[in-house]
Protein backbone atom coordinates (compact mmCIF):
# COMPACT_ATOMS: atom_id res chain seq x y z
CA UNK A 1 0.00 0.00 0.00
CA UNK A 2 2.80 2.43 0.84
CA UNK A 3 5.24 2.56 -2.11
CA UNK A 4 8.46 0.62 -1.32
CA UNK A 5 11.91 2.19 -1.65
CA UNK A 6 14.76 0.46 -3.52
CA UNK A 7 14.68 -2.61 -5.80
CA UNK A 8 11.78 -4.95 -5.14
CA UNK A 9 11.47 -8.60 -6.01
CA UNK A 10 9.70 -9.21 -9.30
CA UNK A 11 7.00 -11.27 -7.62
CA UNK A 12 5.66 -8.46 -5.46
CA UNK A 13 2.09 -8.91 -4.24
CA UNK A 14 -0.40 -7.07 -6.38
CA UNK A 15 -1.75 -4.18 -4.36
CA UNK A 16 -4.40 -1.72 -5.19
CA UNK A 17 -2.32 1.21 -3.96
CA UNK A 18 -5.34 3.33 -4.10
CA UNK A 19 -7.45 6.28 -3.31
CA UNK A 20 -11.08 5.53 -2.46
CA UNK A 21 -13.78 7.77 -1.05
CA UNK A 22 -17.47 7.59 -0.29
CA UNK A 23 -19.75 10.48 0.74
CA UNK A 24 -23.37 10.51 1.89
CA UNK A 25 -25.89 13.08 0.71
CA UNK A 26 -29.56 13.47 1.47
CA UNK A 27 -31.10 10.63 -0.52
CA UNK A 28 -28.01 8.66 -1.54
CA UNK A 29 -24.26 8.26 -1.72
CA UNK A 30 -21.38 9.00 -4.08
CA UNK A 31 -18.43 6.63 -4.30
CA UNK A 32 -15.17 7.39 -6.07
CA UNK A 33 -11.91 5.62 -6.79
CA UNK A 34 -8.78 5.83 -8.90
CA UNK A 35 -7.82 3.03 -11.31
CA UNK A 36 -4.18 2.08 -10.69
CA UNK A 37 -3.10 -1.42 -9.66
CA UNK A 38 0.58 -1.77 -8.77
CA UNK A 39 2.93 -4.68 -8.15
CA UNK A 40 5.85 -2.98 -6.50
CA UNK A 41 6.91 -0.24 -8.90
CA UNK A 42 5.10 -1.64 -11.91
CA UNK A 43 1.62 -0.59 -12.83
CA UNK A 44 -0.05 -3.84 -13.84
CA UNK A 45 -3.48 -2.38 -14.57
CA UNK A 46 -4.13 1.29 -15.20
CA UNK A 47 -7.87 1.05 -15.74
CA UNK A 48 -9.21 -1.08 -12.90
CA UNK A 49 -12.63 -0.22 -11.53
CA UNK A 50 -12.32 -0.46 -7.77
CA UNK A 51 -15.97 0.23 -7.13
CA UNK A 52 -17.60 -3.17 -6.89
CA UNK A 53 -21.32 -3.86 -6.65
CA UNK A 54 -22.58 -5.77 -3.62
CA UNK A 55 -26.24 -5.37 -4.55
CA UNK A 56 -28.44 -3.17 -6.72
CA UNK A 57 -28.15 -0.16 -4.44
CA UNK A 58 -25.05 -1.07 -2.42
CA UNK A 59 -21.47 -0.73 -3.64
CA UNK A 60 -18.10 -1.14 -2.00
CA UNK A 61 -14.76 0.54 -2.71
CA UNK A 62 -11.71 -1.76 -2.68
CA UNK A 63 -8.24 -1.04 -1.31
CA UNK A 64 -5.26 -3.04 -0.10
CA UNK A 65 -4.41 -6.37 -1.67
CA UNK A 66 -6.28 -6.66 -4.97
CA UNK A 67 -7.01 -10.37 -4.57
CA UNK A 68 -8.17 -10.09 -0.96
CA UNK A 69 -10.41 -7.13 -1.66
CA UNK A 70 -11.97 -8.59 -4.79
CA UNK A 71 -12.62 -11.91 -3.14
CA UNK A 72 -14.23 -10.30 -0.11
CA UNK A 73 -16.48 -8.29 -2.38
CA UNK A 74 -17.48 -11.37 -4.36
CA UNK A 75 -18.23 -13.41 -1.25
CA UNK A 76 -20.38 -10.66 0.24
CA UNK A 77 -22.14 -10.15 -3.09
CA UNK A 78 -23.10 -13.81 -3.01
CA UNK A 79 -24.20 -13.67 0.63
CA UNK A 80 -26.37 -10.64 -0.07
CA UNK A 81 -27.96 -12.34 -3.07
CA UNK A 82 -29.05 -15.23 -0.86
CA UNK A 83 -30.05 -12.95 2.01
CA UNK A 84 -32.20 -10.66 -0.13
CA UNK A 85 -34.10 -13.63 -1.52
CA UNK A 86 -34.60 -15.06 1.98
CA UNK A 87 -36.02 -11.88 3.41
CA UNK A 88 -37.89 -11.04 0.23
CA UNK A 89 -36.67 -7.46 -0.13
CA UNK A 90 -33.54 -5.40 -0.83
CA UNK A 91 -30.92 -5.75 1.89
CA UNK A 92 -29.98 -2.91 4.21
CA UNK A 93 -26.63 -1.16 3.81
CA UNK A 94 -25.79 -2.05 7.41
CA UNK A 95 -26.31 -5.74 6.58
CA UNK A 96 -23.81 -5.49 3.73
CA UNK A 97 -21.36 -3.63 5.93
CA UNK A 98 -21.77 -6.17 8.74
CA UNK A 99 -21.08 -9.05 6.35
CA UNK A 100 -17.92 -7.31 5.13
CA UNK A 101 -16.89 -6.55 8.70
CA UNK A 102 -17.40 -10.16 9.78
CA UNK A 103 -14.96 -11.38 7.13
CA UNK A 104 -12.49 -8.55 7.80
CA UNK A 105 -12.45 -9.27 11.51
CA UNK A 106 -12.40 -13.04 11.41
CA UNK A 107 -9.54 -13.15 8.94
CA UNK A 108 -7.79 -9.99 9.96
CA UNK A 109 -4.42 -11.73 10.27
CA UNK A 110 -4.65 -13.37 6.86
CA UNK A 111 -6.26 -10.65 4.77
CA UNK A 112 -5.06 -7.18 3.96
CA UNK A 113 -7.90 -5.23 2.50
CA UNK A 114 -10.10 -2.34 3.48
CA UNK A 115 -13.53 -2.03 1.94
CA UNK A 116 -15.67 1.07 2.27
CA UNK A 117 -19.34 0.06 1.95
CA UNK A 118 -21.87 2.63 0.79
CA UNK A 119 -25.38 2.54 -0.59
CA UNK A 120 -29.03 3.43 -0.25
CA UNK A 121 -31.80 1.54 1.52
CA UNK A 122 -35.41 2.40 2.23
CA UNK A 123 -35.05 2.58 6.00
CA UNK A 124 -32.11 4.96 6.46
CA UNK A 125 -31.46 6.42 3.01
CA UNK A 126 -27.86 6.96 1.96
CA UNK A 127 -25.23 5.51 4.30
CA UNK A 128 -21.43 5.12 4.31
CA UNK A 129 -19.68 2.52 6.46
CA UNK A 130 -15.95 2.04 7.09
CA UNK A 131 -14.77 -1.50 7.87
CA UNK A 132 -11.02 -1.00 8.37
CA UNK A 133 -9.36 -3.94 10.15
CA UNK A 134 -12.67 -5.41 11.24
CA UNK A 135 -14.30 -2.41 12.87
CA UNK A 136 -17.66 -1.16 11.70
CA UNK A 137 -18.64 2.46 11.88
CA UNK A 138 -21.06 4.67 10.02
CA UNK A 139 -19.63 7.99 8.87
CA UNK A 140 -20.83 10.95 6.82
CA UNK A 141 -17.89 10.25 4.50
CA UNK A 142 -14.91 7.91 4.46
CA UNK A 143 -11.60 7.80 2.61
CA UNK A 144 -9.15 4.94 2.28
CA UNK A 145 -6.16 3.54 0.48
CA UNK A 146 -2.58 4.80 0.25
CA UNK A 147 -3.62 8.03 -1.44
CA UNK A 148 -6.02 8.94 1.34
CA UNK A 149 -3.21 9.99 3.69
CA UNK A 150 -2.36 12.86 1.36
CA UNK A 151 -5.86 14.28 1.42
CA UNK A 152 -7.03 13.94 5.04
CA UNK A 153 -6.39 17.64 5.52
CA UNK A 154 -8.28 18.53 2.37
CA UNK A 155 -11.39 16.50 3.18
CA UNK A 156 -11.47 17.63 6.80
CA UNK A 157 -11.31 21.25 5.68
CA UNK A 158 -13.63 21.06 2.70
CA UNK A 159 -16.39 18.71 3.84
CA UNK A 160 -19.67 20.40 4.71
CA UNK A 161 -22.84 18.84 6.03
CA UNK A 162 -25.89 18.88 3.78
CA UNK A 163 -24.10 18.93 0.43
CA UNK A 164 -26.23 18.24 -2.59
CA UNK A 165 -25.71 15.36 -4.97
CA UNK A 166 -23.74 17.50 -7.43
CA UNK A 167 -21.66 19.09 -4.70
CA UNK A 168 -20.78 15.62 -3.39
CA UNK A 169 -19.72 14.48 -6.83
CA UNK A 170 -17.50 17.55 -7.16
CA UNK A 171 -16.08 16.99 -3.67
CA UNK A 172 -15.23 13.39 -4.58
CA UNK A 173 -13.56 14.37 -7.85
CA UNK A 174 -11.51 17.10 -6.19
CA UNK A 175 -10.30 14.69 -3.53
CA UNK A 176 -9.41 11.99 -6.03
CA UNK A 177 -7.59 14.41 -8.27
CA UNK A 178 -5.42 15.74 -5.46
CA UNK A 179 -4.61 12.28 -4.12
CA UNK A 180 -3.87 10.82 -7.53
CA UNK A 181 -1.43 13.64 -8.23
CA UNK A 182 0.60 13.17 -5.05
CA UNK A 183 0.39 9.42 -4.37
CA UNK A 184 2.62 7.33 -6.61
CA UNK A 185 0.40 4.32 -6.12
CA UNK A 186 -2.78 6.08 -7.26
CA UNK A 187 -3.56 7.34 -10.72
CA UNK A 188 -5.22 6.63 -14.04
CA UNK A 189 -8.84 7.55 -14.48
CA UNK A 190 -11.43 8.28 -11.84
CA UNK A 191 -14.48 6.08 -11.43
CA UNK A 192 -17.60 7.58 -9.92
CA UNK A 193 -20.73 5.76 -8.76
CA UNK A 194 -23.80 7.67 -7.58
CA UNK A 195 -26.54 5.68 -5.85
CA UNK A 196 -29.98 6.89 -4.90
CA UNK A 197 -33.44 5.45 -4.54
CA UNK A 198 -34.09 5.38 -8.25
CA UNK A 199 -30.83 4.50 -9.90
CA UNK A 200 -27.20 3.50 -9.69
CA UNK A 201 -25.13 5.58 -12.07
CA UNK A 202 -21.53 4.69 -13.04
CA UNK A 203 -19.24 7.24 -14.65
CA UNK A 204 -15.64 7.35 -15.82
CA UNK A 205 -13.75 10.62 -15.70
CA UNK A 206 -10.66 10.77 -17.87
CA UNK A 207 -7.53 12.53 -16.54
CA UNK A 208 -8.03 15.49 -18.84
CA UNK A 209 -11.45 16.14 -17.31
CA UNK A 210 -10.37 15.87 -13.69
CA UNK A 211 -10.23 19.12 -11.69
CA UNK A 212 -6.83 20.80 -11.88
CA UNK A 213 -4.98 22.25 -8.92
CA UNK A 214 -1.56 23.75 -8.25
CA UNK A 215 1.24 22.05 -10.13
CA UNK A 216 -1.02 20.21 -12.58
Amino acid sequence: MLGGAGPELVTEEVKTGTTIIAVEFNGGVVLGSDSRVSAGDAVVNRVMNKLSPLHDRIYCALSGSAADAQTMAEVVNHQLDVHSIEIGEDPLVCSAATLVKNISYKYKEELMAHLIVAGWDRKDGGQVFATLNGLLTRLPFAIGGSGSFYVYGFVDAEYRKGMSRDECQQFVLNTLSLAMTRDGSSGGVAFLVTIDQHSTEEKIILPKHLPKFFNQ
Binding site: H83, E86, I87, G88, P91, L92, C94, S95, A97, T98, L99, K101, N102, R122, K123, L136
Partner: protein, 255 residues
Protein backbone atom coordinates in the same frame (compact mmCIF):
# COMPACT_ATOMS: atom_id res chain seq x y z
CA UNK B 1 -65.11 -36.69 16.28
CA UNK B 2 -62.14 -37.72 14.16
CA UNK B 3 -61.39 -40.68 11.97
CA UNK B 4 -58.91 -43.14 13.40
CA UNK B 5 -55.96 -43.57 11.09
CA UNK B 6 -55.44 -47.17 11.86
CA UNK B 7 -51.96 -48.17 10.87
CA UNK B 8 -51.19 -44.94 8.99
CA UNK B 9 -50.79 -42.83 12.08
CA UNK B 10 -47.80 -44.43 13.70
CA UNK B 11 -45.15 -42.13 12.30
CA UNK B 12 -44.89 -38.75 10.70
CA UNK B 13 -43.16 -40.27 7.70
CA UNK B 14 -46.34 -42.03 6.55
CA UNK B 15 -49.22 -40.63 4.49
CA UNK B 16 -52.67 -42.11 4.85
CA UNK B 17 -54.52 -43.24 1.70
CA UNK B 18 -56.58 -40.07 1.77
CA UNK B 19 -53.45 -37.93 1.81
CA UNK B 20 -53.20 -36.94 5.47
CA UNK B 21 -50.29 -37.07 7.86
CA UNK B 22 -52.01 -38.11 11.04
CA UNK B 23 -49.16 -37.42 13.41
CA UNK B 24 -49.27 -33.76 12.45
CA UNK B 25 -53.02 -33.67 12.95
CA UNK B 26 -52.65 -35.29 16.35
CA UNK B 27 -50.09 -32.66 17.25
CA UNK B 28 -52.68 -30.00 16.43
CA UNK B 29 -55.11 -31.77 18.76
CA UNK B 30 -52.56 -31.29 21.54
CA UNK B 31 -52.77 -27.57 20.88
CA UNK B 32 -56.53 -27.65 21.05
CA UNK B 33 -56.38 -29.17 24.50
CA UNK B 34 -54.49 -26.22 25.85
CA UNK B 35 -56.03 -23.00 27.11
CA UNK B 36 -56.49 -20.09 24.76
CA UNK B 37 -53.96 -17.55 23.58
CA UNK B 38 -54.82 -14.63 21.34
CA UNK B 39 -52.95 -11.78 19.71
CA UNK B 40 -54.29 -8.79 17.82
CA UNK B 41 -52.47 -6.28 15.66
CA UNK B 42 -53.66 -2.68 15.73
CA UNK B 43 -52.44 0.41 14.00
CA UNK B 44 -49.52 1.10 16.35
CA UNK B 45 -48.64 -2.26 17.90
CA UNK B 46 -49.52 -5.82 18.85
CA UNK B 47 -51.23 -7.02 22.04
CA UNK B 48 -50.99 -10.60 23.34
CA UNK B 49 -53.40 -12.18 25.83
CA UNK B 50 -53.18 -15.66 27.34
CA UNK B 51 -55.68 -17.47 29.52
CA UNK B 52 -53.26 -19.21 31.84
CA UNK B 53 -55.12 -21.91 33.78
CA UNK B 54 -53.91 -22.24 37.34
CA UNK B 55 -53.83 -25.91 38.19
CA UNK B 56 -52.85 -25.55 41.82
CA UNK B 57 -53.09 -22.92 44.52
CA UNK B 58 -49.50 -23.75 45.42
CA UNK B 59 -48.10 -22.22 42.23
CA UNK B 60 -46.28 -18.95 42.64
CA UNK B 61 -48.14 -16.13 40.93
CA UNK B 62 -46.69 -15.43 37.52
CA UNK B 63 -44.98 -18.79 37.14
CA UNK B 64 -45.27 -20.99 34.05
CA UNK B 65 -45.36 -18.02 31.74
CA UNK B 66 -46.80 -18.59 28.31
CA UNK B 67 -45.60 -15.37 26.78
CA UNK B 68 -41.91 -15.23 25.90
CA UNK B 69 -39.53 -12.52 24.83
CA UNK B 70 -37.68 -13.59 21.74
CA UNK B 71 -35.69 -10.49 20.92
CA UNK B 72 -36.14 -7.02 22.30
CA UNK B 73 -38.77 -6.30 19.73
CA UNK B 74 -40.48 -9.70 19.37
CA UNK B 75 -42.99 -11.43 21.64
CA UNK B 76 -44.26 -14.98 21.43
CA UNK B 77 -47.45 -16.41 22.93
CA UNK B 78 -47.88 -20.18 22.91
CA UNK B 79 -50.51 -22.88 23.23
CA UNK B 80 -49.99 -26.63 23.47
CA UNK B 81 -47.25 -28.62 25.12
CA UNK B 82 -45.39 -26.03 27.16
CA UNK B 83 -42.09 -27.90 27.08
CA UNK B 84 -42.16 -28.01 23.29
CA UNK B 85 -42.97 -24.33 23.23
CA UNK B 86 -40.07 -23.44 25.50
CA UNK B 87 -37.69 -25.36 23.29
CA UNK B 88 -38.97 -23.51 20.23
CA UNK B 89 -38.62 -20.17 21.97
CA UNK B 90 -34.93 -21.00 22.38
CA UNK B 91 -34.73 -21.80 18.67
CA UNK B 92 -36.35 -18.48 17.85
CA UNK B 93 -33.95 -16.67 20.17
CA UNK B 94 -30.97 -18.27 18.51
CA UNK B 95 -32.24 -17.35 15.07
CA UNK B 96 -32.70 -13.74 16.11
CA UNK B 97 -29.31 -13.60 17.75
CA UNK B 98 -27.50 -15.14 14.78
CA UNK B 99 -29.29 -12.83 12.39
CA UNK B 100 -28.17 -9.82 14.36
CA UNK B 101 -24.59 -11.12 14.45
CA UNK B 102 -24.50 -11.73 10.72
CA UNK B 103 -26.48 -8.80 9.39
CA UNK B 104 -26.15 -6.12 12.02
CA UNK B 105 -29.84 -5.33 12.63
CA UNK B 106 -33.06 -6.67 14.18
CA UNK B 107 -34.48 -9.69 12.45
CA UNK B 108 -37.58 -8.87 10.35
CA UNK B 109 -40.55 -10.76 11.82
CA UNK B 110 -41.54 -12.44 8.59
CA UNK B 111 -38.06 -13.88 8.22
CA UNK B 112 -37.98 -15.09 11.84
CA UNK B 113 -41.37 -16.67 11.41
CA UNK B 114 -40.24 -18.38 8.18
CA UNK B 115 -37.11 -19.72 9.85
CA UNK B 116 -38.87 -21.11 12.93
CA UNK B 117 -41.66 -22.54 10.78
CA UNK B 118 -39.03 -24.30 8.66
CA UNK B 119 -37.58 -25.79 11.83
CA UNK B 120 -41.01 -26.97 13.03
CA UNK B 121 -41.71 -28.42 9.61
CA UNK B 122 -38.50 -30.43 9.66
CA UNK B 123 -39.84 -32.40 12.61
CA UNK B 124 -42.84 -33.50 10.54
CA UNK B 125 -40.72 -35.33 8.01
CA UNK B 126 -39.13 -38.18 9.94
CA UNK B 127 -40.26 -41.15 11.95
CA UNK B 128 -37.37 -40.79 14.36
CA UNK B 129 -38.82 -37.63 15.91
CA UNK B 130 -42.30 -36.42 16.73
CA UNK B 131 -43.80 -33.13 15.58
CA UNK B 132 -43.89 -30.22 18.02
CA UNK B 133 -47.14 -30.18 19.95
CA UNK B 134 -47.56 -26.43 20.10
CA UNK B 135 -48.67 -23.46 18.06
CA UNK B 136 -47.33 -20.03 18.68
CA UNK B 137 -47.98 -16.46 17.73
CA UNK B 138 -45.12 -14.05 17.04
CA UNK B 139 -45.59 -10.31 17.12
CA UNK B 140 -43.36 -7.30 16.78
CA UNK B 141 -43.31 -3.58 16.10
CA UNK B 142 -40.84 -1.65 13.97
CA UNK B 143 -40.93 2.05 13.31
CA UNK B 144 -40.50 1.57 9.57
CA UNK B 145 -42.58 -1.52 8.94
CA UNK B 146 -45.15 -1.06 11.69
CA UNK B 147 -46.73 -3.85 13.72
CA UNK B 148 -46.63 -7.43 12.43
CA UNK B 149 -48.24 -10.66 13.58
CA UNK B 150 -47.50 -14.24 12.46
CA UNK B 151 -48.75 -17.58 13.66
CA UNK B 152 -46.96 -20.93 13.28
CA UNK B 153 -48.70 -24.26 13.78
CA UNK B 154 -47.32 -27.81 14.24
CA UNK B 155 -47.42 -28.52 10.52
CA UNK B 156 -44.81 -25.82 10.02
CA UNK B 157 -46.81 -23.25 8.08
CA UNK B 158 -46.86 -19.62 9.04
CA UNK B 159 -49.31 -16.93 8.05
CA UNK B 160 -49.55 -13.23 8.78
CA UNK B 161 -52.60 -12.01 10.64
CA UNK B 162 -54.43 -8.98 11.93
CA UNK B 163 -55.77 -11.10 14.76
CA UNK B 164 -55.53 -14.77 15.64
CA UNK B 165 -56.36 -17.25 18.37
CA UNK B 166 -55.01 -20.67 19.32
CA UNK B 167 -56.07 -23.21 21.93
CA UNK B 168 -59.31 -24.68 23.13
CA UNK B 169 -61.57 -21.67 22.64
CA UNK B 170 -60.02 -20.41 19.44
CA UNK B 171 -63.30 -20.47 17.50
CA UNK B 172 -65.12 -18.40 20.08
CA UNK B 173 -62.16 -16.06 20.37
CA UNK B 174 -61.95 -15.62 16.60
CA UNK B 175 -65.61 -14.67 16.51
CA UNK B 176 -64.99 -11.99 19.11
CA UNK B 177 -61.85 -10.77 17.36
CA UNK B 178 -63.68 -10.41 14.06
CA UNK B 179 -66.07 -7.96 15.67
CA UNK B 180 -63.25 -5.52 16.37
CA UNK B 181 -62.08 -2.76 14.03
CA UNK B 182 -58.47 -3.34 14.99
CA UNK B 183 -56.94 -1.31 12.19
CA UNK B 184 -58.32 1.84 13.75
CA UNK B 185 -57.49 1.08 17.36
CA UNK B 186 -54.46 1.93 19.44
CA UNK B 187 -52.71 -0.45 21.83
CA UNK B 188 -54.20 1.18 24.88
CA UNK B 189 -57.72 0.64 23.56
CA UNK B 190 -56.89 -2.83 22.35
CA UNK B 191 -55.45 -4.13 25.60
CA UNK B 192 -58.85 -3.77 27.24
CA UNK B 193 -60.56 -5.59 24.38
CA UNK B 194 -58.03 -8.43 24.54
CA UNK B 195 -58.63 -8.85 28.27
CA UNK B 196 -62.36 -8.87 27.63
CA UNK B 197 -62.09 -11.56 24.98
CA UNK B 198 -60.07 -13.83 27.25
CA UNK B 199 -62.63 -13.40 30.00
CA UNK B 200 -65.44 -14.12 27.55
CA UNK B 201 -63.98 -17.35 26.23
CA UNK B 202 -62.90 -18.63 29.63
CA UNK B 203 -65.10 -21.50 30.72
CA UNK B 204 -65.95 -20.93 34.38
CA UNK B 205 -67.49 -24.34 34.81
CA UNK B 206 -64.74 -26.53 33.45
CA UNK B 207 -61.64 -24.54 34.22
CA UNK B 208 -62.14 -22.44 37.34
CA UNK B 209 -59.12 -20.36 38.27
CA UNK B 210 -57.02 -18.60 35.66
CA UNK B 211 -54.44 -15.86 35.42
CA UNK B 212 -54.58 -13.38 32.59
CA UNK B 213 -51.18 -12.83 30.97
CA UNK B 214 -51.07 -9.64 28.94
CA UNK B 215 -48.17 -8.24 26.96
CA UNK B 216 -47.69 -5.71 24.21
CA UNK B 217 -45.19 -4.27 21.80
CA UNK B 218 -45.69 -1.08 19.88
CA UNK B 219 -45.22 2.64 19.78
CA UNK B 220 -46.44 2.76 23.36
CA UNK B 221 -43.42 0.68 24.45
CA UNK B 222 -41.00 2.20 21.95
CA UNK B 223 -40.74 -1.04 20.04
CA UNK B 224 -39.83 -3.25 23.01
CA UNK B 225 -41.93 -6.28 23.90
CA UNK B 226 -42.90 -6.12 27.58
CA UNK B 227 -45.57 -7.43 29.92
CA UNK B 228 -48.29 -4.85 30.29
CA UNK B 229 -47.66 -2.69 33.38
CA UNK B 230 -49.65 -3.53 36.51
CA UNK B 231 -51.90 -0.49 36.43
CA UNK B 232 -52.83 -0.96 32.77
CA UNK B 233 -53.48 -4.63 33.37
CA UNK B 234 -55.72 -3.98 36.34
CA UNK B 235 -57.67 -1.40 34.36
CA UNK B 236 -58.06 -3.87 31.51
CA UNK B 237 -59.22 -6.67 33.80
CA UNK B 238 -61.71 -4.37 35.45
CA UNK B 239 -63.05 -3.37 32.05
CA UNK B 240 -63.31 -7.06 31.12
CA UNK B 241 -65.14 -8.06 34.28
CA UNK B 242 -67.50 -5.10 34.04
CA UNK B 243 -68.37 -5.88 30.42
CA UNK B 244 -69.11 -9.46 31.31
CA UNK B 245 -71.48 -8.41 34.04
CA UNK B 246 -73.28 -6.08 31.65
CA UNK B 247 -73.66 -8.86 29.15
CA UNK B 248 -74.97 -11.19 31.82
CA UNK B 249 -77.58 -8.60 32.72
CA UNK B 250 -78.67 -8.13 29.15
CA UNK B 251 -78.60 -11.82 28.34
CA UNK B 252 -82.36 -12.18 28.48
CA UNK B 253 -82.73 -9.47 25.89
CA UNK B 254 -80.33 -11.08 23.42
CA UNK B 255 -81.49 -13.80 21.10
Amino acid sequence: MSSIGTGYDLSASTFSPDGRVFQVEYAMKAVENSSTAIAIRCKDGVVFGVEKLVLSKLYEEGSNKRIFNIDRHVGMAVAGLLADARSLSEVAREESSNFRMNYGHDIPLKHLSDRVAMYVHAYTLYSAVRPFGCSFILGSYDKDDGPQLYMVDPSGISYGYWGCAIGKAKQAAKTEIEKLQMKDMTCRELVKEVAKIIYIVHDEVKDKAFELELSWVGEVTNGRHVLVPKDVREEAEKFAKDSLEEEDDSDEDNM
